[in-house]
């Protein structure tokens, strides 16, 4: 008996957003990255054959402006000496297959003194020189410091179509203004709430930022640390978007790398029950499973930390895109 698969016809579609600019477009990137454009729930290609998911979800690797103090030793093993130099690290990430480099600026310098705009600009220029991939640059996540570091970065990298952030509901105007003035994109980050996610997109758009230059980060939790809450917020955002709610139609950027590697299961290998098994295997599984769950709920850019996790998700996406 033939089985007929029911098809959904959606009124809305996710916006298409392009990161990075080539020399012809006013930047220096070797290639650009385009995400979004979905006209179906994740990987349900049969809803709109040929046009359902015009762009596969992208995989990004996170690098830091200096060797981080608090990352798991397993990540140190994976990246080795490259972690000491943001340029080397970005190059290694490109070689590991990343579509996008996400550079996070630290609050302090290695000696504990506050990070400075000049340092931030120098690091960004170094990374831009080391790789041809598009680049996202995020501040340390403290409003004043973010503004202080990101504005000069935006000016120095004018025309590169960087993705910059972090824009939050209490602190978005300075970064959005810098992005508008210098041809960049912004990431709109809100704490796991459908309404807040939508509200910040409205606020950013109200400043005059075109919607095809805004990504949203609805905030995610790691496997075992609230992923179901984040998952369901993303699912509701995506359903609202497909139903035609314009201010939820931004592609979503998620950070399972950051979240999973905060979890005890991934971060530490000592003082945990023997039944937890091999540390490295468990840690990478934690990041991979967190990331693959988020792919199923509509993630467009998945930011990871371990190269092996990226390789596994790459395989998974390839399979899901064929299905």
């Amino acid at each position: 008996m033939p089985v007929e698969i029911p098809k959904d016809k959606w009124a809305g579609q996710i916006r298409t957003v392009t990161l990075g600019a080539t020399a012809a477009e006013g930047g220096t990137r070797a290639r650009t990255l385009t995400v979004g454009g979905e006209a179906c729930l994740p990987f349900l290609h049969f809803d709109a054959p040929g046009a359902a998911m015009p762009h596969r979800p992208a995989l990004a690797l996170e690098v830091r402006d200096r060797r981080p103090d608090d990352w798991s030793p397993l990540l140190g093993q994976a990246w080795g000496e490259a972690m000491s130099d943001p340029g080397d690290w970005a190059r290694a990430a490109e070689q590991a297959g990343a579509d996008l480099i996400v550079l996070t600026l630290s609050l302090t310098q290695a000696d504990g003194s506050p990070n400075l705009p000049a340092n931030a600009v120098a690091v960004v220029q170094k990374v831009l020189g080391a790789t041809g991939l598009p680049l996202a640059v995020f501040g340390p996540g403290q409003a004043e410091k973010d503004n202080e570091l990101i504005v000069p970065v935006a000016e120095a990298a004018k025309g590169e179509r960087l993705l910059i952030g972090v824009c939050e509901d209490k602190n978005y105007r300075t970064i959005v203004a810098a992005a508008m003035a210098n041809g960049h994109l912004v990431s709109s980050k809100t704490p796991m709430d459908v309404n807040l996610a939508k509200q910040l997109i409205i606020l950013i758009h109200d400043m005059g930022m075109p919607l095809d230059r805004i990504l949203m980060d609805p905030t995610t939790g790691a496997l075992g640390y609230g992923i179901e809450y984040g998952y369901s917020v993303m699912e509701r955002l995506r359903l609202a978007a497909l139903q035609g709610d314009s201010m939820t139609q931004q592609p979503m950027l998620v950070t399972p790398g950051e979240e999973a590697w905060k979890a005890k299961e991934a971060k530490v290998g000592e003082g945990v029950p023997a039944a937890w098994g091999d540390w490295q295997r468990r840690a990478i599984n934690w990041e991979t499973l967190t990331g693959s769950a988020l792919l199923q709920t509509g993630a467009d850019i998945v930011v990871l930390r371990h190269p092996e996790s990226l390789a596994r998700l790459r395989t998974q996406i390839a399979g899901l895109m064929q299905a």
């Binding site: 300075t174 709430d193 309404n195 939508k198 409205i202 400043m207 005059g208």
Partner: protein, 649 residues
Amino acid sequence: MAHHSVTFLPAGQTASVTTGTLLTEAIRQAGLDIGQPCGGQGRCGRCAIVVEDGQIRRRSAIRLSDADLAAGYALACQAVVEGDATIRLLETEAVERRLVTDKTARQVAAPFAYAPERDQSVRAFFVTLDEPTLADNVDDAARLERALAAHGVRGLEIPLALLRTLGPRLRDANWQATAVVELDTWRRPAGPPRLIDLIPGDQLAQVLGLAIDIGTTTVTVYLVDLLTGAAVDQAAEYNGQIARGEDVISRIIYASKGGPASAPSGLEELRARVLETINTLIARLAERGQVDPQRIYKATVAGNTTMLHLFLGVPPASIRLTPYIPAVNHPAPLTAAEAGLAIHPLALVDPLPGVASYVGADITAGVLATGLHEAEPLTLFIDVGTNGEIVLGNQEWLMTCACSAGPAFEGAGVVSGMRATRGAIEEVWINSQTYEPTYRVIGGGQPRGLCGSGLLSLLAELFITGVADKAGNFKLDLGLPRLRPGAHGPEYVVVWAGDAAHGQDIVLTKVDVDNLMRAKAAIYAGFNVLAQSVGVDLSQVERLLIGGSFGKYLNVEKAVQVGLLPDLPWDRINFLGNTAVLGAYLALLSRDARAAVRALAEKMTYLELSADNSFYEAFTSALFLPHTDLSRFPSVAALAAPGEAGARA
């Protein structure tokens, strides 16, 4: 136990108290009074005093800065006497209260064709009794009963108090008297009738009643002629309980405080305070109308559930604790002597029915007054005060819920907030080019702060002119001199110190904005969830009726702009003022109205908003100007913030 002498400056009153006595108690013992708007929880900081000298321990100082502490400030409700001390009371904002409802005596005619013989349950009859003889030797009581039977009054009950004086009264009156009889109540629809008073001669001309609304903030009393049905006069006064808490929760907390052996408990004190307010109003009305309060034989009482509990001296503690169950929603009728009202001691006091802890008799009375329970159009009725109680329905069905808006709309919990009294800014306009504000002050003169309508108006203007974004964040990057960082985050200066009555800047802080946003979001979310629960869209509402005193000053346009009220055509919106007292007035006059309010209270379906997530969801989506879903506010969507609209790609 050791006694300590506490001296209060500037006047020098003293009190002798034991170790550990709260300063508020010592202040009271000294014959002074100090306001405690938060009910003595140490939260509002309004009872601050200065310790000039002596041993005082501060239990909590959360409202005081280090500089305040160094200067000797303490909160009287949190300060404990541990030795002799000298305390300076601060000259607090003069209690200057203006009540518009008490400006002039206003007569209100009976709202329907009143026929006492049909409608009224408390009636007076002039009777002439047969003088007893050896042949006609029935007792006085039976003789009175026989005379009243001629008026259709059968099976009369005579309370003991009247029985004791019945013989002399009848004889002194030469067997001609006016009998005031309660024919029935909702508890005893078939009687038996009860004698309330027996007055010599024909006294039919003065049979009076009261309609009382005990508001958390304001108590209103109508004096009603029960023969004609007219409300001959009305008076209103701030509820004397305000000094012990501005909102119902603070009062409930205060009520649960046990008094020291020498002092009344919190509950007794609050009951005494509201009775004093009501009795003052009664005395005022009696004096103005040249009537004897002893000729008032019936009082119908509306008020929220907490107010009625406190009025009756019933502990309200469970009202604020989950699952929020009051002791009683519909108290049985009682006598004025039991209630403590200074009218005829045997007068009938009839509290109206409530629905739940936070939907009380003020709302059922309000619904009765609006007549929405008998009307066909889908009607939304809201009583805006500290709590927003909402009713949605028509003649077929009634849904209700209550959302806690917080006291921001009453000017409390806001840095420059104040009640709607003289000196309050009640309306603000901001120039969209210069961003300079103009404003209107109650009573003219220099402003001292902002009242609820002024705050709402200011919020709307800040949003519409683009000084604040849709989340209520001030746009500091506009570089306006009136926008500046303050102690409570960014703030907007409405009035510079030089133009203010008290010589200080009048500001709206980001924290104030958040409080206002939460208040308006709670109310709109209540509308939304109520409508959702019965599957109707707010745009389908055919009439929006707004009760409560706040409603009187509310500017519809601004209320819609901030998303407090749904975006309905203005001709569907009506302001009704105090609907609770009107409902009490109707129930006082008419058995049918009294039965209707009981029936509608039973018919109303109460929706508990804390029972699931839908309220929270609706609340966060309403926590935006005007709303996250702008399509709900088409008239506001048409107004874009200038300066940014042009930049939009």
